[in-house]
Every structure is written in structure tokens, then in C-alpha cells.
């Protein structure tokens, strides 16, 4: 196939639009005075840019799947779906950053630019089809994230978060690179398809024992990705970083890098390990134990938290674990369940963080007690928050339940009952801490005289709009699932 650069670019329109949006934002940002409070045009450009990128990415779901740029990137319906999800998440975080007081006025522009940049990394990662692009994607994703974590310059915890993120990120990237170089040494290629062929070749000509050498390499490799999706045992940074970062940044972190990490892990797993051999059995063992550990540790640690943000951070760890469980089954049913889980997870996270952020702005802290008696002050918001918590815990007929049902369905289909039961019982644990916040909002009397100015008509409307999918996808999910059923990973 001749290398036709321009033709390749037509498949790459969403990413290009995002890049140009970022550049446009940089240009406009420099036109603002430092203390110019309103950065409306900047937000408008970013949201319009991302929105059109989202539309193009959405169209790509139905287009032909293809490799571009010398097989460096796979533009398939799976990666396009993931891109749409990440774009939705980013737009959600962008609006939150506009209304949040947690981001200083003069840094709002930076937030827009950097989150768009991280999104480029995420899109790159979702499409990555060789080890190099994978690494570049992870680094693009990470380097800007490090800066975003320390946005709150005057707050020690934010600086601590940034530093911790850099240190952990640097170490895990190095470990992953080491694993990747080892894998390259054995297989002699960085292209995913060629690697898969080489793997099955080794598996056939030297049954089993030759593959053992690759097991530690892949364990090193997964450390890097596991760090991005904050799966146990690479999760130690998450609560501190999430707590220290400003609220919109936390929202952003719990959506985009997680989905990007899950997509690449899914792609690698289904390309390399769909054949049954020693390596895929070990991979199954690693991923399944990691995911169960992630769910359990995330849930148990969330119980004791005093800060709602930290609680949500731990709960997002356990949700990432649930998504990883869909990888264990290594088939398209699992993949589509993960995508559905991601859809619902985005909306639940956004609603929870929007409400938390507005409460946090009012009181300047996010302890559980700040939610006491919310139902007497802002009944609509309290009800939406309560229903979102039920949905996160997986109570039908809400979308969180449907997402869990799909994952359990994929797991049970392959006969992994143990995993299904362990994951299922974990939602009982999670219900406990989600109920804690509902309990405070509804059962406790309202104290203090703050009137929560953040909940204006506009913001309440936006939260309500974000909330609608949480209920609708719980009852009428057939249409969405039919779209997600188009998602496929391009194998060769």
C-alpha cells in the first residue's frame, strides 16, 4: 500500500480538530489580560472544537475500519467509540472548570489548553497500534496531567499531588519501557499485529517453555498501564492526587486517563492473548486477580473516608476494577460491556462531581457533613445526587445496575462464577458508603445559613441534563447497546 499521507489524514480528523482547538486556545489565551475574569470565548472555542471532533469521531464508528500512517494507528469502531466517550468527559470537565472556584481565574485558560492536550494523548492511546505510539500516548497523557494536578498553586496538597504524580508516573513509565524493550527483544517488532503473529509462532513451535520468558516482561508492561487506570497494586498515588487536585481536574482524571488506559489494555489483551496458551493463561490470572483486588481494595478503603472527594476517588478505583473485569473474558461481549460501563460511568461521575464541586465551593471543604440536610436546601440536587449514588452502587433500574449486569453477564458467560460473585458482593460494600452520603443529605437536619449560590438555574439545568442518561440508560438501554455492539477491534 503506497504511503498516502493526505488520504490517511482524512481518517484522523477528530484528533486534528482537537489539536487545532488547542492551538487556537493558546492563541486566544495570550490575548487576555491576566486578571480578565471572563474567558467565555476561550471556552466557546474549546467546546465547539471538541464538539465537532466528537461528531466526526461518532461518524467514524460507522465508517470502515482501517490502519493509517503505516499501521501505526488503528482507526476502528472501538477506538472511535472510546474517543467519543473521552470527548464527552472532557467537555463535562471543561464546563465544571468554568463554574468552579477551585481553579483560579487566571488559570482557567491553562485548564482548557491542558485538558485538550491530555485528550489528544487519550485519543492517541485509544488508537495506538504499536508499542511506540502506545508509549507516546501514555506520555502525552501523563506529562500534562502532572501540571494539571498542581494547578492550585497556593495549596500545599495540590503541589504534593503534582509531585507525587510525577514521581509515580516517571517510575511506572520507566518500568513499562523496560518491559516493552524486553518484549521487543524477544519478538523483534513493535507493530501489534506482527507481535501477535510472532507470539503465536513461538507458541506453536516451542510449546510453552519459551513463552515463560515473556511473562515477567508483560508484568512490567502492565505496570505502566495499571498505573494509568489506577488498578491495585499501582493505585497508591490515586487518593492523594485526586484529593489534592482541584475539583474539575479530579473529575477529568477520573474519566479520561481511565478510559484511555482501559481501552489500550483491552486492545493489547485481545490482540495478543486471544489464543489459548501459557501466556494467555497467565495473563488471565494477572488481570483477573488485579481486577478483583482493585474492586475490593477500592471499596474497603472508601468506607473510612471523611472527604467525599477522597471517597469518590476510591470508588473510582473500584469502578476501574469492574471495567477491568470485562477484559478478563477476552471477547467482544466483554469489550462492549466495558464500553457501556464507561458510558454510564462518565455521566454518574460528572453528576456526582458537579454537585460535590458546587457544595465544595460554598464551604471550601468537602467533608461528608457538608451534605447534611441538602434536601431541605436544594431538593432537586439532593434527589439527583441520591439517585446517582444508588446508580453507582448498582440498584436497578438505573444505568449503573445495567452496566454491572453487562459485566457480570460477560463474566458468567465464560463460566467465571467466582469472579462474578466476588465482584457482585463488592457492590454491597460499595452501597454502604454511597448510602452514607444519601443518609446525610436526607436524614440529617440542615445546619448553617449558606444558600449555595452555585446552584443557580443554569447549573441545576445542566446537572439535570447530565443526569437524564443515568435513568434513561437504566430502562431503555437497548438502543445504546445496539450502537455499542458495532464496536470492533481491528485485528489485522
Amino acid at each position: 500500500m503506497p504511503f498516502n499521507y493526505l488520504e490517511n489524514l482524512t481518517h484522523y480528523i477528530p484528533e486534528l480538530i482537537i489539536c487545532f482547538t488547542m492551538i487556537a486556545c493558546i492563541l486566544f489565551e495570550s490575548a487576555y489580560e491576566k486578571n480578565d475574569s471572563d474567558r467565555g470565548i476561550l471556552y466557546l472555542i474549546a467546546i465547539l472544537g471538541l464538539g465537532s471532533a466528537g461528531v466526526f469521531a461518532y461518524q467514524k464508528i460507522f465508517a470502515e475500519n482501517t490502519f493509517i500512517l503505516g499501521s501505526a494507528l488503528a482507526i476502528d469502531s472501538f477506538s472511535s467509540t472510546a474517543k467519543v466517550l473521552m470527548i464527552i468527559g472532557t467537555i463535562g470537565a471543561l464546563y465544571l472548570s468554568k463554574i468552579s472556584k477551585d481553579i483560579y481565574q487566571d488559570l482557567k485558560g491553562e485548564f482548557v489548553i491542558m485538558s485538550t492536550g491530555v485528550l489528544v494523548g487519550g485519543c492517541l492511546l485509544a488508537s495506538a497500534n504499536n508499542m511506540l505510539i502506545l508509549y507516546i500516548g501514555i506520555e502525552t497523557l501523563s506529562i500534562l496531567s502532572y501540571v494539571m494536578a498542581s494547578f492550585k498553586k497556593t495549596d500545599d496538597r495540590s503541589s504534593e499531588a503534582g509531585l507525587k504524580y510525577v514521581l509515580y508516573g516517571g517510575v511506572s513509565a520507566a518500568v513499562m519501557l523496560f518491559g516493552m524493550s524486553h518484549i521487543y527483544g524477544v519478538l523483534g517488532t513493535i507493530n501489534f499485529q506482527e507481535m501477535a503473529t510472532a507470539l503465536s509462532g513461538i507458541a506453536q513451535s516451542y510449546p510453552n517453555n519459551q513463552l515463560t520468558i515473556l511473562i515477567p516482561s508483560f508484568i512490567l508492561f502492565i505496570a505502566g498501564i495499571g498505573y494509568k487506570i489506577s488498578s491495585v497494586p499501582f493505585h497508591m498515588w490515586t487518593p492523594d492526587v485526586y484529593e489534592g487536585s482541584p475539583m474539575p481536574v479530579t473529575t477529568f482524571f477520573s474519566i479520561v486517563p481511565k478510559i484511555a488506559g482501559i481501552t489500550i489494555l483491552l486492545r493489547v489483551s485481545s490482540l495478543f492473548f486471544s489464543e489459548s496458551n501459557l501466556l494467555s493463561v497467565s495473563w488471565f490470572g494477572i488481570i483477573s486477580s488485579m481486577s478483583i483486588l482493585t474492586i475490593t481494595v477500592g471499596n474497603i478503603a472508601a468506607i473510612g473516608q471523611r472527604s467525599v472527594k477522597r471517597m469518590l476517588a476510591y470508588s473510582s478505583i473500584s469502578h476501574a476494577g469492574m471495567m477491568m473485569l470485562g477484559i478478563v473474558v477476552l471477547n467482544t461481549v466483554g469489550m462492549r460491556s466495558i464500553l457501556f460501563y464507561a458510558v454510564t460511568y462518565i455521566f454518574m461521575t460528572l453528576v456526582a462531581f458537579y454537585i460535590l464541586s458546587i457544595v465544595n465551593d460554598e464551604y471550601d471543604n468537602d467533608h461528608f457533613e457538608r451534605f447534611s440536610g441538602l434536601i431541605y436546601k436544594k431538593p432537586l440536587m439532593a434527589i439527583l445526587m441520591a439517585v446517582t449514588m444508588f446508580s453507582l452502587a448498582g440498584i436497578p433500574p438505573l444505568s449503573g445496575f445495567v452496566a454491572k449486569f453487562h459485566i457480570l453477564n460477560a463474566v458468567v458467560k465464560e463460566g467465571y462464577y467466582t469472579l462474578a460473585i466476588l465482584a457482585g458482593l463488592n457492590s454491597v460494600i460499595s452501597l454502604y458508603y454511597y448510602l452514607k452520603i444519601v443518609r446525610l443529605m436526607v436524614f440529617k437536619p440542615y445546619e448553617g445559613s449558606e444558600n449555595l449560590v452555585g446552584f443557580g438555574v443554569l447549573n441545576q439545568t445542566i446537572v439535570t441534563v447530565l443526569f437524564i442518561p443515568i435513568v434513561m440508560l437504566g430502562i431503555f438501554w437497548a438502543g445504546t447497546m445496539a450502537k455499542l455492539n458495532l464496536a470492533n477491534i481491528l485485528m489485522n
Binding site: N409, Y417, T418, I421, S427, R439, V442
Partner: protein
Amino acid sequence: MQAHSNLLNWILWMPMIGAIVTLLIPSKMEKGIRWWSLVNTLTTFILTLVLYSKFDTTVPGMQEAFNVKIPWIAQFHINYSLGIDGISLPMILLTGLLFFLCIMSSWTITKQIKAYFSLFLFLQCSVFGVFLALDFFLFYVFWEVMLIPMFFLIGIWGGENKEYAAVKFFLYTFFGSILMLIGMVALYYASGQGADSFDILALSGGHFRNLNLELFGTNFAFNKLLFIFLFIGFAIKVPVFPFHTWLPHAHVQAPTAISVILAGVLLKMGTYGFLRIAYPIFPEASKYFSYSIAVLGIINVIYGAFCAMAQNDVKKLVAYSSVSHMGFVMLGLAAMTVQGMNGAVLQMFNHGTSTAMMFLLIGILYERSHHRWIVKPDGTKGFGGLYTQLPKFSIIFIIAMFASMGLPGLSGFISEALIFLGIYERFTSITALGLIGLLIGAAYLLWMYKRMFFGDVIDECKTYTDVNAREIAYMTPLCIAVIVFGIYPSPILNMMRASVGKLVSLLATF
């Protein structure tokens, strides 16, 4: 009768319409909200009576004329499918009646009336959903949705320790239903993911016999393990010992109407789950475990009775008596004979009416005394000589108590007698133990009555007023029910006979 009746749809969604309209009424119009809820539940109750009048008692199994089936999620072959048979009809009638009466008893609620009545109607919708659903997935959805209004109803309008009770109730039931969920998904794959893989009726009949299932590296027989999953899910609701510990807390803390619904209807959902799902789908495993179920049932009867005897809080006493009486239902289910099963379903209905009376009466008393101590924690008497102060109240209480005790001529007797007849054929020694349970039951109830109603009138009780017209209005239907069905139980027995017979003959083939 027309070919496609929408009656079940109306029964199911009427309370939901009521709840939505309640939300639209301005919260200042307290009277309007109360009367609207009353009219709404009355309409629903009349609809259930219409259903009863159209019901053909000779047909075993589902009545085709009422079936509703609409595809919901095509990918998984999940349907919105409702149906009614002789086992669910008594429960529907009971639900319709009790919710209507409970609205009347909730007249005295003053805190956040709008929220209370809309949640209450929402609860009724989900309870109907459980009793009407013929699709396992739909059943599960309603089973779980019910927890949300219950959580708030206990948590907001409950007693001093309400939060703990609400959370405990929620977590316990959720734990059980997670196992049920996994069982449900496993069944979906075991039945071949076909067009009727979530259809309870199609799953019934004892397929899934020679399958195995691996759990924690051990092989289990598919039907036995799944039966245990479903058993735990339902047993928590019943509640069967050792899963009963949530019940006393929830009962004591819940407001009167919610206690009535909890004891009168929600506990029956557990035993209904056995009759509708666990038994028909896994008849072989049910037979295999029937002795264990009987043993758990007898523990419930005796342990519940002894616990009740030890209580100083009269509401807690009645709560434990529910544990004991639901044990009788479990015994009837374990018998798997015609009399035993009929007795069990009848006991579900009769316990619903008699225990509802008890809780309503305690609620009436509590509104006067603001405490429920038979013996106060400081050792003094909480009540004394109520009989001379509140004669009408005491007479209604006697009827409720004797019905609950199983005195001949009142409703409890017939069902308990049928259960003992049924179980005697299979587990003789357990029958003997069950009779001891009956005796203890009489003992704690009579002792309670003696301590509260006889003896010297204590000063506190002198100010109490007797039952008013509204209270008599909602106690009368229940009094009539326990007396009439004690003398002439055939209407209910006829209703269920064909359907129960079908289930028993299915079980008998294994």
C-alpha cells in the same frame, strides 16, 4: 372476557400515577395530598377486587386472559411480562387492602407529607411489580426498586435509631439480591440464551439437572448451588433464621404504616419468591433441601417465639412473632404436600391480616402513650389496666391476638392446621416440635396481654382516649377478614387450589 385485558397494567401503574400526581400537588395542601392518596389506593383496591371477580378459579397456572407481554430488551430477550395465578392473587388482594388501610392509619403523619405519601405509593407500585412479574429480570428490578422507598420511609419517619435500621435493612436485602442476580444470569446461560431465557414460566419445570458449575475451584451441581443462591436471596426477606437480624430493628424503628407493610406484605415476597421462582425452577434441588428448609423453619418458629417472649418492647415482641409465624410458612413450604402448600399460602395471607392488625393497634396505642414499653427500662410498668380504660381497643386487640395465636374460629387456626396436616406426612418429629412452638406462641401473647390490659390501671393510662372513628374504620375490614376467613376460608383456598396443585404435582415428580 376480552382477549387482552390491561387490568394488570392498571393495577401495577395506578399507584405510580398516584405518586406522580402527589408530587404535583403543592405541599401546603396537606388535606388534598391525604385524600388523593386515599382515593388512589381505594381505586387500586377496587381494581384488585375486579381482578378477583374475573379470576377463573378452575384454571391452574397463569390466567392467559390477563397476561401482558411486551418485549423490553431484545438483545437479552427480556420482556415486560405480567401475569396472575392463584398464588399471586391472594397477595395482590392483600397488598391492595393493606396499602389502602395504611393510608388511613398514616393520617396522623405531619412531617413532610408530600414525600411520605408519594414514596408510599411508589412502594406499592414496586410491591405489585414483584407479585405480578413473570420475567425474572423484571422481578429482580421491582425487588430491588422496593428498597429505595423503604430506605427513605424508615430513615425519615422512623424512631430514634432509624438510620441504623434503614441502612441495615437496605444492605441485608441487597446482599441477598446480589446472589440472586448472579443466579439469574447463570440461568440465562444455562437455558441457552433463547427467546424465553428470562421467562419464569419457561424456566420452570425442572430443567438444568445434569449441569455442573465451578466455584472457588470446586465443582458443584448447578441446580443445588443456584437453589442456595436463590434461597439466601429470598430467606433474607422472609426472614429465615439466621438471616433475620435486620427485622427487629427495621420493625421497631419504622413508622406504624411501614411496619404494617413490612410485616404484612414485604415478608411474603420472600416466600412468594420460593413459590414462584426457586421451587418451580429447581424442583429437584428443592426436594433435596426440603429437610433443611423444615429445620430452618422450625428454628424460626421456636427461636422467634422465645425471642418474642423475652421482649419488653411490645412492637419488638410482635416483630419476633412475625419471625415465628413466617417459620410456619416455611414449614408448609418444606412439606411439599397439597395441604402443606395450601396452608403456607393461606398462612401468608392470614398472617398478613393478623399481624397488620397487631402493628396498627400498637401504632394507635403509641400515638397516645408515646412509648411502647410493657416494662419500662427502669423496671416500672409501662401499661396497666388498659382494658378498663380502652374497652373497644382491647376487644379489637383480643381479636388480633387470638387470630395471630391460631385460636379455632379465627383465621390463623385454619392455615396452621393445614400446615401441620401437610408436614406430618413427611417430617413427624418436626411437627411435634412445631406444636411446642404454637404453645410458646400462645404463652407470650397471653402474657403480654395480661401485663398490658389487666391489673391495676397505672396513672399514665388514665388519660388515654379510646379508638376514634377513623381508627375503627381501618380496623373493621381487618377484623372482618380474620373472623370470616377463620370460619369460611374457601374463597381464598379455592383461589389458590388449582395453582398450588400444579406446583405440588411438579414437585412430586422428583
